[in-house]
């Protein structure tokens, strides 16, 4: 079943086109990654799905129903973790979650159970009576998530949930995303952190200038990059290395030395591995290991958009 279906969606802010004729389908059970640099249009797209912004053109379907005619149905089935924290500093963690869950029609004992469940899920049960004022950044982020999941939505949309937090909280959040997914939630996850997306997402869309420029599993995305390869040579000592000489070898594009690792980027179709190894042997540089790197998403992103994910 399609949890989310976006067809030819366009959003303009006066003359500026933030989302440009975008189409996208997300199936039940996916963790779908939205990759894009600042201003790519990720939040704008998400906000239209959540009903926060009106689209200029196109349609959005949640669980098969057009949100234009089934707004309440759509809203009930979506949980959104906004990019900016959206919590009341003067309410305790418990009160925050209870208030928002209460807006979804939960009452009484059921409400209380769900709130506790959500707080437990993000690891804030101990802190449920404390005010978020006194929370660390990571704890606030986790509360921000708890507020979005207590009503058990089918689709959870997380807009950069790990911005500016400690590694421990980040791991916690990544794990909870996986867990939510295992419990049957479909997740849309946007991030500036390639590693995160690579780690948890089953499918990824790269967004640039309001358009999806590539989409697929990470293997599919990496396969897009076929014209170069990366060869990493781990050496015992880099004393006698001459980068310029290596660069002379047929097919080699760039050479970088980082500590004892020589990173060589070369054209894919030229077979020059023997020549490279020969160089190290001739100079009497001991090779400890040598591997051909699979292209990573960072390179894919850079190649496709001409920009780094983070500036």
């Amino acid at each position: 079943m399609n949890v989310l279906e976006i067809n030819n969606l366009t959003k303009k802010f006066s003359d500026f086109i933030a989302v440009d004729n975008m189409s996208l389908t997300i199936k039940e059970g996916e963790i779908f990654g939205f990759l894009g640099s600042n201003g790519a249009g990720k939040s704008t797209t998400i906000n239209m799905v959540a009903g926060l912004l009106r689209s200029n053109e196109g349609e959005i379907k949640i669980l098969g129903k057009n949100i234009a005619n089934h707004s309440k149905f759509a809203k009930r089935n979506i949980g959104i973790v906004p990019q900016d924290l959206a919590i009341y500093e003067d309410l305790t963690a418990f009160e925050n979650v209870r208030f928002f869950a209460g807006l979804y029609g939960l009452r009484g004992a059921e409400l209380k159970d769900r709130v506790e469940e959500a707080l437990k899920f993000v690891g804030l049960v101990d802190k449920q009576k404390s005010l978020p004022k006194n929370f660390s950044g990571g704890m606030k982020r986790r509360l921000n998530i708890a507020c979005a999941i207590a009503h058990k939505p089918k689709l959870i949309i997380m807009d950069e949930p790990t911005v500016g937090i400690d590694p421990q909280s980040r791991n916690y959040i990544l794990n909870s995303v996986r867990q939510l997914n295992e419990m049957g939630c479909t997740v849309i996850y946007t991030s500036h952190y390639m590693e995160e997306v690579e780690e948890i997402c089953s499918r990824i869309a790269i967004v640039d200038h309001g358009k999806i420029i590539a989409e697929g599993t990470k293997e599919q995305l990496k396969a897009i990059i076929t014209d170069t390869k990366d060869i990493w040579v781990d050496v015992k000592s880099n004393e006698n290395l001459e980068e310029n000489v290596i660069k002379e070898i047929n097919g080699v594009n760039t050479v970088q030395v980082e500590d004892n690792v020589v990173k060589i980027n070369s054209q894919a179709e030229v077979s020059n591995l023997n020549k490279i190894i020969q160089y190290f042997i001739n100079r009497n540089i001991e090779i400890r290991s040598l591997e051909e790197q699979a292209p990573n998403l960072e390179t894919v992103f850079l190649t496709l958009t001409g920009r780094n994910l983070r500036d």
């Binding site: 959540a50 009903g51 926060l52 912004l53 979506i78 009341y88 003067d90 928002f100 807006l103 979005a148």
Partner: protein, 373 residues
């Protein structure tokens, strides 16, 4: 239910904000205490009611003449002195020139009363007595302020045998400085509800919680109504505490019709909240809305007599004073407390509601149009 949830939320987050408590409770109470006691001397001299002078004209051989004679005698004991006018005297002019506190024409048809606007307390005491007197003798009486062409029938007030005594007891209850400032500061702080209202919905946006409200399966109307109810209840609660403190601790006189007083205050709070909300949608930034409202409130407070009582104002000054909702509420509540006069209250309540609806409509239209929130 959602409305209730949102109203409760609004109450909770406001009450937990220390600034709310300081601003809505501590500030007015301290202000009452300081102004009420610091200015008490000056004040008492000004308001003290000693001798009241009434000019009267009587057509010959009226049937009530003997009773009126009696009435005047009784009144004299309470320090209200009646002076007979000659046929050629212009009674209204004499009052206008402040030679007398009131002027009465007594004839077989009834009584015509002209009270001094300047000495409004005195004139309303006298009016009250005469009304009671007229009631007793089934006289058709007419009352007019010394403001040409504005004649209105007297509302039948409570009658009693000892009308003179009762009314002069009221006279002794004439507002002292604490009584005055209790009312003036309370009506002022009711209007200050406008400040909080500018942040009622804007605050959700700056806090970003607007996003969650907007994605929840509730209607905008529920959010809007819940927020307004929460804000009004909060303001009323604080006014209730202020009135209680001023009444029990400072012994301010709030009269015998507290329910009515609170209905006036409620209408004023409604006006304030709608005004704040309306302006917050008319002005771009929250800071600008706040500043604009603060200036308006300061002016309204000043001309509404919240800082010091403005007496005997005429012309332009009087016109400006009458623009202040604080003046309206003060007048209505004072009449309520001291003369059991509710007509003024009804007018003020109507006026407050009318203006509130205008500002509220502006807010509703803008709120509906806004994307998301």
């Amino acid at each position: 239910m959602n409305v209730l949830n949102i109203a409760l939320l609004q109450l909770k987050i406001s009450i937990r904000d220390k600034r709310t408590i300081i601003f809505m409770l501590a500030f007015p109470i301290v202000m009452m205490l300081v102004l009420g006691s610091a200015l008490s001397n000056a004040f008492d001299n000004q308001v003290k009611i000693d001798k009241m002078k009434v000019l009267y004209k009587e057509t010959h051989n009226t049937s009530i003449a003997p009773y009126f004679e009696q009435f005047m005698k009784a009144a004299k004991k309470e320090n209200i002195h009646f002076y007979k006018a000659s046929d050629i005297t212009d009674g209204k002019k004499a009052v206008r020139q402040n030679h007398y506190d009131a002027y009465v024409e007594v004839s077989n048809k009834g009584m015509n009363f002209y009270g001094s606007e300047r000495n409004s307390i005195e004139s309303s005491i006298i009016q009250g007595m005469l009304t009671a007197f007229a009631d007793k003798y089934n006289l058709v009486s007419q009352v007019a302020k010394v403001k040409p062409n504005q004649t209105q029938a007297v509302l039948a007030g409570g009658t009693s045998h000892d009308y003179v005594k009762e009314m002069s007891l009221n006279a002794k209850k004439a507002p002292g400085s604490m009584d005055y400032y209790a009312v003036a500061v309370t009506t002022m702080i009711a209007l200050y509800g406008a400040i909080g209202a500018t942040f009622l919905l804007r605050g959700e946006r700056t806090r970003n919680t607007a996003v969650r409200l907007a994605v929840a399966p509730i209607t905008k109307a529920e959010i809007f109504i819940g927020k307004i109810i929460g804000s009004i209840v909060l303001n009323l609660l604080s006014l209730f505490l202020i009135v209680a403190v001023s009444s029990f601790l400072f012994k301010a006189n709030w009269g015998d019709h507290l329910g009515f007083v609170f209905i006036i205050l409620l209408s004023e709070v409604f006006l304030a909240v709608s005004f704040g909300l309306g302006v917050s949608y008319m002005v771009k930034t929250g800071e600008a809305a706040r500043t604009l409202i603060l200036i308006i409130l300061q002016l309204a407070s000043f001309f509404g007599g919240a800082y010091f009582k403005i007496e005997g104002a005429d012309g332009m000054m009087k016109f400006i004073m009458n623009l202040s909702p604080i003046t309206w509420a003060n007048t209505a509540i004072t009449k309520n407390i001291y003369n059991n006069d509710f007509t003024a209250s009804l007018q003020v309540i109507g006026l407050n509601l009318g203006i509130a609806i205008v500002f509220l409509s502006i807010a509703i239209v803008s709120f509906k149009r806004r994307e998301g929130f």
